[in-house]
Amino acid sequence: MEQRPTLSRPGLALALVSAIGMVLAGVGFHIALIILAIWLGTLWLSAPRPPQPDRSGGDGAFTRASVGDLIEHSATPMLLTQGSRVTTANLSARRLLGSHLVDQDARVAFRHPEAIALLARDAAGSAIIRGLERRRDIWSMNRQPIGDGFAVIELVNRTSEADISRAHTDFVANASHELRTPLASIIGYVETLLDTPGSLDEETSDKFLGTIAREARRLQHLVEDLMSLSRVEAEKHDQPEEEIGFASLVERAARDAAGSERAHRLEMHCNSPVLIAGDSQQLEQLVRNLVDNALKYGDDDKMVSVAVDMSDKGEATLTVEDRGEGIAAEHLPHLTRRFYRTDPGRSRASGGTGLGLAIVKHIVERHRGRLDIDSVQGEGTTVTVRIPCKAPSQAAVRDIAKLS
């Protein structure tokens, strides 16, 4: 772009004419030349600089579109605002906040007071906001004005950092008690057996050994469940990508959970082809835990129904329904808490660790799904898991077309 200032033509002409006039009028040639030089010098200094390209008017629309293109595929959610309105949002931002936010007031997208304070200040800055997508997540929001009322907003997810420290305290608080109980009884019985060699009759010592074996196995289950819980938690923040036929996975995992002796109690409705993006190992565990619970806590002679369907909103739904005594309403909200038991005695007797539903909840959360537990006492319990569907790839569409 031409950056050198241009001299105005009338000014040049006037200077030249005056110089010639001065020479003709008899002023010395050198003096006239010096005056001309000074004149031209001042003209050059005061010449108007070429105007800066205007960002908002003229080809400003083009500039904005190109900024939009520039940020579109950035992995960081980014937005462009003009005044209080969102004018452009890149793909990640639309995925995070919904595509409705374009052309809305930015406050609709970020309603946290800190964010609104940041939007109201017309200066660069950042804010920590909670509950952007889900209620508990933490994001840092950076805003940089770029002139003409435009500003770029960038969002960075900080949830995982905050989660790690909380997960540690939770784990220590909950797990140590649960781990210590079986250990205490193992140690107690073993010490009794060691201290009194020969004085115990066979029946009693067999009973003791049985208890030790049972408690050790319980400890083993507990450790296994804790391991898988912490594995799920560790991966909580990376979204699973694997393309999975949900119905066949559910069917396989449910049969697996029931085993040969309980398989006749399963009633499967897994015919709709539903594709989701997920982690097959974790989803199998989810189904196993739910089906095992239903078989365990439902009545022994009643069927357990397992159904996979597609909701109107494009979510894969898994429903596991049992008929049995059900769960009292006051327990429902706590069910997914670690080590929560509605009836500690029964749960212990059936070898439960108190972690099954906590694992389920974490797996559902990792898949950005929802978990609902409904129960009517005396009738039974229904667990519904909803996981957003993957937009089917071309190959998958062809497969489904072939199937139907």
Partner: protein
């Protein structure tokens, strides 16, 4: 929503929605902080919640003024009219939600012997449910999503069940520990306030559904 010929009308509606979202954001934070203050006995935080309520009230007045101005000057029709009417009503309800959060914050100083007062541990889970409803309903409002609104309406039953459970729990606690009756009675009010927050979130959900579809959601109680 499609654009209007009068650009200023679009601006007004956008501003109205922005104000509602701002109010909602404040209320959401107030609920969370009032419960945190209650559980931790943090009176400074409670004071902050009480102060914030004035801000919510001020925005409600702004919404009222703007809505009346839109109706008077632009005579909106069909979905625009629904949008404005819904905003007017939602602002009133969100203001109530803010009041409940303030009421909870006011009671923070009234609980004695916090360390050994076991019923306190019941509140956060219930508060979480109600706060989740408020969060979801505001998201539903932002995205004009009637389905999510229906989900919020369904979630209210859980909060109600929770309230009943806490009520029974507190009453039996009072019977066993007469010394803590005054604190436990305060907690009853707090639980009631949370339950009302859930009810009001349901009201907002109904209006979101109405603004989006023109119909009130089917009554699921029966």
């Amino acid at each position: 929503m499609s654009e209007h010929t009068v650009k200023a009308f679009d601006d007004d509606i956008t501003r109205l929605r922005g104000l509602i979202a701002e109010m909602g954001g404040l209320a959401e934070v107030s609920i969370q902080e009032s419960l945190d203050a209650m559980v931790q006995g943090n009176e400074g935080l409670a004071e902050k919640v009480i102060k914030r309520d004035r801000k919510i009230d001020a925005i409600e007045t702004d919404v009222d003024k703007l809505a009346v101005r839109i109706i008077a000057l632009r005579a909106p029709m069909a979905d625009d009219l629904r949008e404005v009417i819904a905003a007017l009503k939602i602002a009133g309800v969100v203001e109530r939600i803010g009041d409940y959060a303030k009421n909870i914050a006011r009671r923070v100083g009234e609980i004695e012997g916090r360390k050994r007062f076991e019923p306190l541990t019941l509140l956060p889970a219930m508060g979480d449910l109600a706060a989740e409803m408020v969060h979801d309903v505001l998201t539903a409002y932002a995205s004009r999503d009637p389905e999510l609104a229906l989900e919020v309406i369904r979630a209210d039953a859980k909060v109600d069940a929770f309230y009943n459970s806490i009520f029974r729990n507190l009453v039996s606690h009072m019977v066993e520990n007469p010394a803590t009756i005054s604190s436990a009675a305060q907690l009853l009010f707090v639980a009631k306030n949370i339950e009302r927050i859930g009810d009001h979130a349901t009201n907002v959900a109904e209006m979101v559904h109405f603004a989006a579809t023109g119909e009130y959601p089917p009554d699921e109680d029966s």
